[in-house]
Symmetry: C2
Subunit: 115 residues, 2 copies
DNA sequence: ATAGTCTATCGTCGATTGACGATAGCACGC
DNA sequence: GCGTGCTATCGTCAATCGACGATAGACTAT
């Protein structure tokens, strides 16, 4: 289980292997790390990750409330993080829940660790 | 000592404490991590870090030879990494030696680890 | 001194990013 | 069905990024 409140849960995380099909070195790994690093290369997006990590927010509207940015801007940051594989969401209903994709985060940490 | 070939050595690294004056959380930490992450948010810059990490290159011209980019472009990438605190250089002479600033790299890893 | 080599900087260009407001799409309650 | 609230997307604009060639600066060797 990822969440304590099932109503805002994201679907179960993919098998751990999925995010590690690319090796930790070589051009592919370089590009993957670059994409992940670029995704967290903005203070607002790091703030979002911290909020979700500490479970201080779960749904989009809460994240919007915590940041001094317009709703559309926050939505864009969420999209970037999701595209990078650092977030997952449950698209059901008007309240969209977000949670960290720990596979992607692990992948990021692993790629950085070996530099 | 950082290097095996003193002729291309960078000046001694600053005391470890220097890069850790900012805490690991809060807005300052978010901005610092964002700057570091943005600096490695490009495949060429990750490639450069790997080259230097493996000591496959030490001076600017070697790095230029290893990358499919113009010399000016490589120089710009080196500047970005240096500004972010991930590289140091010895500015003496026409052959400029580069090496990884392990304080900055440690800082990056520490900031990412606690997300 | 002078020529040659190496690196940093400048200027420019197209592509991308980040911000916003406006708007469309979607589930729920009435 | 119909409005209401929430989220995603679109369009726009200024700012930044990334690439290059050209040029300037610095040191070496001749």
């Amino acid at each position: 289980m990822d969440c304590d409140e099932p109503e805002f849960c994201c679907p179960p995380a993919a098998p751990v292997g999925e995010a590690t099909t690319v090796s930790l070195e070589g051009p592919e790994a370089d590009e993957q790390l670059a994409r992940l690093a670029k995704a967290i290369g903005h203070p607002a997006r790091i703030h979002i990750l911290r909020l979700l990590s500490r479970k201080e927010a779960r749904v989009c509207s809460q994240i919007v409330d915590e940041l001094p940015l317009a709703q559309s801007t926050v939505s864009e940051h969420l999209r970037i993080l999701k595209d990078a594989g650092l977030l997952r969401s449950n698209g059901d209903g008007p309240r969209v829940g977000y949670c960290i994709d720990f596979n992607g985060l692990r992948r990021l940490k692993a790629l950085i660790a070996i530099i």
